[in-house]
Amino acid sequence: MPDIDPALQRAPARSGVRLAARRFARNRGSLVALMFLIFVHVAVVVGPVFVQHAPERTSPRNALLPPGPVHLLGTDELGRDHLARLLHGGRVTLAVGLFSMVVSLVVGTVVGSVAAFFRGTLEALLMRFTDAMMAIPSFFLVLVAITVLGNSPAMVVLVIGLTSWMVVARVVYAEVLTYRTREFVNAAEALGARQMRLIVRHVLPMTVPSLIVSATLGVAFAILIETAISYLGLGIQPPVASWGNMLQNAQQYIWLSPMLAVWPGVLTMLTVLAYNLVGDGLRDALDPRTAR
């Protein structure tokens, strides 16, 4: 066996990922956005350890305090520490965003790939179902579903995920349709691979770049939906904090403590912005053809 430089040996398998990473890094906006996302996620996971105050502990005597050494960002109308609530609320909002994305990705991938692979009646049925779901404004559907099924965090995740998979389904459907007639799929089929294996091992991996992009954009979408329904008082219920429900009462106290209304909104906006920018950067990095 001749000596082959191990780096060379690995090179072909990794070069795609490495090239994409290099292209991504060249996009300064996306890179900053990615660093911001890492910072926010680490902060909401680790941050609460360093904050002494419990996010749900009320203290009417200390209501609406300005920022100070004890309460770094002040307190809200019930005397709860604003920083603690921001961090815990961020946990809830970001977790809802991520898990909803997972649900929508799974449902969308299954619907899209099944429709594209098993043509005919099943395909027509599934794709018309997708159209129907798109014809109902998703926010309206989320609203109805949550009031009917309940608004525990797990239910909120499920409802947002089950009402936002349609774009993923369309993307997967289109991609599977183009890949299933390619030679490498024919070859696998000729070798006797079963349908299930054809889909999972040969066709679906080709859709991963699009799925990654859909996933980042999906998190952004889910965060916007969660904060909006929680703001309306129908989503995550107090005393559990979320960036959306923290803004529910902020309107009333906007003169006394304007920062109560500012922080959750700014964090939501920046996080959604960052997810969108990372998604755009990934799209350009993973598929150079679409680079603008």
């Binding site: 404004p137 609203l143 009031t147 909006a228 129908l234 902020a250 309107q251 906006m269 920046l270």
Partner: protein, 315 residues
């Protein structure tokens, strides 16, 4: 063209059927049934009578069938909670929402399309940069928070515009008065649609500009303005018009938040009220009306293709 349109209309009917089935079974999953069933002041007999009146003793697919039979004849039934006719309730609310979404869409198109074209024509220039910053921000800002900021600035601090409602109390129909109340809600809702218009117009223009016939037009000496507006823009319009159709569903969804914050008595706020009150019939009525608006808009979009693109007419 006609067969194309008929096929799309047929698909619309199937989509409508799916939409009503999804929502009907969803609202019927509710534990405990409609909210009125949980009132404490009823005797067991009254409760049974109410359940019979609402056909709650029948299996869900039969209830759907009877609801559907009435709906197809234009009767959406009566509100479970206050017994008013659903047609009448929605009839009062629909114009408010249509008004809001129409103006918001108009603003989004009037600003978004020229901005998208300009961004494509002066690609990578300052206009393109400004347009992309604007659309990235517009996509990320939570609309309810944007509304709060606008109210804080224009109503509370500057006192220029009213913060909620549709008209001043005691004032008859007055265009200026109505317009003052519309500025903030329309701004909020239009902002949610604007980024899509800018992005789609820009990318449609860019892909058209790269086409051979645009190069041919340039080669035969057509002036730049002519190239962009006669040769490129018309072809770029097709994907843009599609986008308008898709935006309708998004705008009506956005109207839920916008109407709630600004206190507009439209369908969006009705959706919040009906969901909270578990008013099945009103929710079903809203579903039918909202889905119809979305489906009809998309049919009109298909028709518009024929006007813009002769190839579709002859297909």
């Amino acid at each position: 063209m006609l067969s194309f349109f008929l096929r799309r209309a047929g698909e619309g009917v199937i989509v409508m059927l799916f939409v009503t089935i999804i929502t009907f079974f969803l609202v019927n999953l509710a534990p405990g049934g409609p909210a009125v069933m949980m009132r404490m002041d009823m005797t067991a007999e009254q409760r049974d009578a109410l359940a019979r009146r609402l056909n709650l003793d029948q299996p869900v697919h039969l209830r759907y069938a009877s609801w559907f039979g009435n709906a197809i004849r234009g009767d959406l039934g009566r509100s479970v909670n206050d017994n008013r006719r659903v047609n009448e309730i929605i009839g009062q609310r629909l114009p408010v929402t249509l008004n809001l979404t129409f103006w918001s869409l108009l603003v989004a198109v009037a600003i978004g399309v020229p901005l998208g074209v300009a961004a494509a024509v002066w690609r990578n220039g300052p206009v393109d940069y400004a347009a992309s910053v604007l659309s990235v921000l517009g996509l990320a800002i939570p609309s309810f928070w944007f509304a709060l900021l606008l109210i804080l600035l224009f109503s509370v601090t500057l006192g220029w515009l009213p913060s909620s409602g549709m008209r001043s109390v005691g004032v008859g129909f007055d265009v200026v008065d109505r317009a003052r109340y519309m500025v903030l809600p329309v701004t909020v809702l239009a902002t949610s649609a604007l980024p899509f218009m800018v992005r789609y117009t820009r990318s449609a223009m860019l892909s058209v500009i790269a086409e051979d016939y645009v190069r041919t037009a340039r080669a035969k000496g057509v002036r730049e303005r002519g190239v962009y507006f006669v040769h490129a823009f018309r072809n770029a319009l097709i994907p843009v018009v599609t986008q308008v159709g898709l935006l309708i569903a998004r705008l009506i969804g956005g109207a839920v938040v916008t109407e709630t914050i600004f206190g507009w008595p439209g369908m969006g706020r009705l959706a919040v009220e009906a969901s909270n009150g578990r008013d099945f019939t009103v929710i079903m009525g809203l579903t039918v009306v909202i889905a119809s608006v979305v489906i009809v808009t998309n049919l009109l979009v298909d028709l518009a293709y024929g006007l813009i693109d002769p190839r579709v007419r002859h297909a």
